[in-house]
Symmetry: C2
Amino acid sequence: MPELRMDPIKERWVIIAVERARRPEDFQIPPEETRLHACPFCYGNEDKTPPEVFAIRPPDSPPDTSGWRVRVTPNKYPALRIEGDLVREGVGVFDRMSGIGAHEVVIENPDHNRSLADLSIEEIRDVLLAYRERIKDLRKDQRFRYVLVFKNHRSAAGASLSHSHSQIIATPVTPFIVIQELRAAQEHYLKKERCIFCDIIKQELVIGRRVVKADEDYLLWAPFASCFPFETWLFPLKHRHDFTLLADDELLVLARAMKEMLLRMKLVLNDPPYNFVLHTSPSLTPRPGKPQYWGTIEYDYHWHLELVPRLTKIAGFEWGTGFYINPTPPEVAAEELRKIEIEL
Amino acid sequence: MPELRMDPIKERWVIIAVERARRPEDFQIPPEETRLHACPFCYGNEDKTPPEVFAIRPPDSPPDTSGWRVRVTPNKYPALRIEGDLVREGVGVFDRMSGIGAHEVVIENPDHNRSLADLSIEEIRDVLLAYRERIKDLRKDQRFRYVLVFKNHRSAAGASLSHSHSQIIATPVTPFIVIQELRAAQEHYLKKERCIFCDIIKQELVIGRRVVKADEDYLLWAPFASCFPFETWLFPLKHRHDFTLLADDELLVLARAMKEMLLRMKLVLNDPPYNFVLHTSPSLTPRPGKPQYWGTIEYDYHWHLELVPRLTKIAGFEWGTGFYINPTPPEVAAEELRKIEIEL
């Protein structure tokens, strides 16, 4: 069982893989993929992953066979384990929890060589549908506080397999960057009775210099205080705290905006490694005996997507301070991302 | 002039290089070093850096000539600029400051091929002496709130030149991870009238499993909630909030402990890329009209050094949540780092 640990000074949780510990020699081994004979995410290799928990496939097609369009399975090497009780304990000045959680892989399409940016709008919609259904399902588990959807594209951004996939991790604590975001949004709302994200959207549409693309549904923009070159956020104009409230037809509209974002990124930066993270409401499933902090969340929080291409390295300064040095102003990034012509 | 910007949701500052913006094509260019004919940090190339601000050199040797043992110069491509006024302004919902600060390079020794771990204890002491003198000098500038000393070893950890060097950055705001640490230490002290670092040292010496090396002056240990495999912290047993209070002979004792840390790291992990960061008191220089938060800092804060080898990648999960997955428990890391024999 992995462990969650918190340092009383840093006040952030870390997942520690207590079993299967990687020792010095393990860091010399080439990444998994080079040792694989067959990609576990391709058709015909469904038995190389744990049994699927969700798939979009023809009605007559049985689970864990070929024919699927999107397939979600537990991660074979999960960071957190689904089985067991959530045990919390102190270890002197430190805190520890059992590493309960879920870690799933969303295989975005059967074709080994097509990345998310290459998929059709309908195919991207199917991926979003898988995200939505898995978040909703995982939130039913009272042990989980947050369900995070994210994607690592290419090995420099942390992907260990090249077949296009995203990941879902459900955690028994709300991660500290998420808490920071939720608190800042809540404080703004309590003071002004306005959503801070809606305020930002209004301001950025007027200023215009950081806008990559705006239509009646989405604002694609380079954030004012971007930490990384060409960091790009996708904000829905319609205020909603929770991504899972999107209906199927709304997911299709989002898929179009995402395709636009991914294609611009791919063309301008030559298919860069990137990470994206879906920022949405935490699990609001009532838990007996557990405090519920986010009373005004429907009004104060605003789901969105954040994408960072990985063109620079995170070094000592960033690690030691949380203070980033970004060599590309967002106004320049927006201009570059805006000026190319794309066809959807 | 670079800019400091803050996002009201993330609440962390970012340094944006407004001039000399890197555009998409600039990220395709190989790193600087491959284009250099001569290393600017080697003897004879003193004119390839800005004029030195500190050096340890023979008494008869003029500045910016060969013969030095340690040399500190302003960074040729600084993230922050020393000249100008500190201007603070709002930009709608956002915050902006002029990018005033200092960015210096500590060239640790003249030999291009010797890394910090290879230097003698006396040579490392000279590097520490340069750190101490530069921090003290930079703190006199009322515009600066924090002076950060850090090192990126090898290009995977962010070093752009291979000749061994550290960096010093003075910032006009206290970085948010530093604030977190200062606040947590202060809260602990206000509740218990004890230093949290001293409490941790006492506990870890008793438990012993995470101790790499302990003597009467320093505890070298793998922290309970390590974010990275083989993360290692060096804590002085003697409570002091400020690294610059160390006398010359105390720097020699620290140099010995650092050599021990760096050699163990190098031998066990095959000279890994790493970052280290010196955690010390912020600038306490009185500034008219500026609040002073850290009233009990002499009692509650405890300077120390944190080192992270860079064996794993920071991916979407870590970026989006501040939640790290560490595949090597600190107990295993400590065991591996402890068991090798080294001679100093």
